[in-house]
């Protein structure tokens, strides 16, 4: 991978004059802001339609963060991640509809099954590099969506299938407002867990193998095992999310696992910023809102969307959040007179 000259600018994780601490206090601020937005947003949302949009953004954000762990932090591209989301969704749908399972065991079983599949696949494909890995994951996603579309006896084929609501201990989630708190909570939990991971020795190992597999392995990191582990983690999170969103939307079709959905996730990660959790949230907001705003302008929606992608990547090649953060910080640093070195 080539590096943009911008990247040679200091963008230290610690403040220039602060103690040699790990990333810490800044995390709390970000998290508090996110929690406040999630908690206060319902006051601004006029009706169920807007709750639905907010929920879809949260789903995209969690999925984006899951993919970012794999792509942005560990450096392994996946163009088929929606396939795992689809496996979770259909796993839950089939187990609850055809076998009469309760939603929670179905969700866990679907996640477990997806984890096993992801593990088997990861073992063979994560040896591949760059574009070959992109091709393999792309193929995997497409195969999953074609299978879902063809096994009509189980999945309803291209038309899709209905899914019951989510109930636990006799209580059933109903309505956008209740689901909003589920997905809002899930988003916050995902951010906390993902940041914990990234800041831990395990997360450092993932980023290290992104930076240099050679250096990582010589430092005692089992590169192959780590890649498989993060792939399985990422796929499993997507699967669980797929299960929940299947119960939420009440109806699923093979499109949710398709190539376009996988591309959407990659756009979220790259547009928002690789290796940036809040970048993925930003990307999800953009991808969740833009189609709503552009809807109804047939043809133009596609053009405008394309233009936004191209222009953003040209002017903010590292993604919106990291690129802007660097600019803000370097402006602040030069103001105080002096760079890091």
């Amino acid at each position: 991978m080539t590096h943009h000259p911008d990247q040679s600018l200091p963008r230290s994780r610690q403040s220039i004059s602060g103690p040699i601490l790990g990333p810490g206090s800044r995390r709390v601020v970000g998290l508090a802001a996110l929690a406040a937005v999630v908690a206060l947003l319902p006051l601004l949302l006029p009706n169920a339609f807007y709750f639905d949009v907010a929920i879809r953004i949260a789903i995209l954000a969690v999925n984006g963060i899951a993919l970012n762990l794999l792509m942005g932090y560990t450096g392994q591209i996946s163009l088929g991640h929606a396939g795992f989301f689809g496996l979770g969704a259909y796993g839950s749908a089939v187990l609850t509809t055809h076998f009469g399972w309760a939603p929670l065991p179905a969700l866990l079983a679907a996640a477990g099954l997806t984890a096993v599949i992801a593990w088997g696949v990861a073992r063979v494909i994560l040896r591949l590099r760059g574009h070959y890995l992109a091709m393999a994951t792309l193929g995997l996603g497409i195969i999953i969506s074609i299978v879902l579309g063809n096994e009509a006896a189980w999945t309803g084929g291209p038309d899709g299938m209905p899914v019951d609501g989510f109930s636990l201990f006799g209580l059933t989630l109903s309505g956008e407002r209740q689901w909003y708190w589920v997905f809002g909570g899930l988003l916050i939990a995902t951010v906390i867990l993902a940041q914990n991971l990234i800041d831990s020795p395990a997360g450092r190992a993932l980023q290290a193998l992104h930076g240099s597999e050679t250096a990582a392995s010589v430092a005692g990191i089992d590169v192959g095992r780590r890649k498989i582990a993060v792939f399985v983690l990422s796929a499993t999170v997507s699967a669980m999310l797929g299960s929940l969103s299947a119960h939420y939307s009440g109806y699923i079709n093979p499109g949710i696992a398709g190539f376009l959905q996988s591309v959407e996730l990659v756009i979220i990660v790259v547009l928002g910023g690789m290796a940036s959790i809040y970048g993925s949230i930003f990307g999800a907001v953009v991808m969740g809102l833009l189609p709503q705003i552009l809807a109804g302008y047939e043809g133009w929606d596609s053009v405008l969307f394309g233009v936004i992608l191209v222009v953003t990547m040209i002017f903010l090649p590292r993604g919106v959040v990291p690129s802007l953060a660097t600019r803000l910080r370097s402006a602040g640093v030069t103001g105080k007179g002096g760079a890091a070195c």
Binding site: S12, I20, P201, T214, V218, V223, C341
Partner: protein, 254 residues
């Protein structure tokens, strides 16, 4: 401590290392020298598990390790730096050093996600140790910098700090002084001597003869992948073959 016997590595038609044997005693400074392309880096790559030998054996503390994976060898106490830097440019400088300490920390992903009790404290202690190491190797000025923002010389030292962070038994340095100026080279020389005095076994590939002659207990000379000579610095200095093949060539370069 390390015994290499009849080690060979071929790349297609190139015999990068051919039938090389030597033994490195514990606690000494052992240098490997030879003209460009002699196979020194390949030898390091073989010993540290990055390449699989075509034939021959490598014994470390009495056990055969030829063909073992690099991370397994790291567990056994091997550590190294690279001639062509292997820096994680997506991490801060101090995080690079902490990567070296990977094996000393609980690196389970579940523990990380759940912030296992004690994990943060151990990580913070590790960060302080990493900072101390950076001071020790002479790149303390960059403790708060990003690796991507550091100059070449500082990165060479950063790699040494990272290699030391794993608390190795044996340390391999591939051209630690390449591209450094006179004073910096002298700093490396003192550092190597210090490390050896603390009981670490250090293996150095280096073109700077003054450094090699002053720090080494023993020297191995490679030429076209083959062992040309082995002995103490004074023996090597006097060896006519070495003078002809290597020192002569080096004199031409200067």
């Amino acid at each position: 401590m390390l015994t290499v016997a009849n080690l060979s590595k071929r790349f297609g038609g190139v015999h990068a290392v051919q039938d090389v044997s030597f033994t490195i005693p514990r606690g000494c400074v052992y240098s490997v020298i030879g003209p460009n392309g002699a196979g020194k880096t390949t030898l390091f790559n073989l010993i540290s598990g990055l390449y699989t030998p075509t034939s021959g054996s490598i014994g470390f503390e009495g056990q055969e390790i030829g063909g073992a994976a690099p991370d397994q060898l790291a567990r056994r106490g091997m550590s190294r730096t690279f001639q062509n830097l292997q820096i994680c440019r997506n991490l801060s400088a101090i995080d690079n050093v902490m990567v070296g300490a990977h094996l000393t920390l609980n690196s389970s992903m579940v523990a990380g996600m759940l912030r296992w009790p004690g994990l943060s404290r151990a990580d913070r202690a590790c960060r302080e140790r990493a900072a101390a190491l950076m001071e020790r190797v002479g790149c303390g000025a960059f403790i708060r910098a990003d690796a991507a923002a550091m100059p070449y010389g500082a990165l060479k030292r950063l790699e040494i700090a990272r290699a030391l962070a794993s608390e190795p038994k044996i340390l391999f340095l591939d051209e630690p002084a390449a591209g450094l100026n006179h004073t910096e080279t002298h700093g490396i020389q003192t550092l190597v001597a210090d490390l050896a005095r603390s009981g670490l076994t250090v293996v150095v590939v280096e073109h700077d003869m003054k450094l090699v002659m002053s720090v080494s207990d023993r020297i191995l000379v490679l030429n076209y992948g083959r062992r040309l000579a082995e002995g103490t610095p004074s023996e090597i200095r006097e060896n006519p073959e070495v003078i002809a093949a290597y020192l002569g060539a080096d004199a031409e370069e200067d």
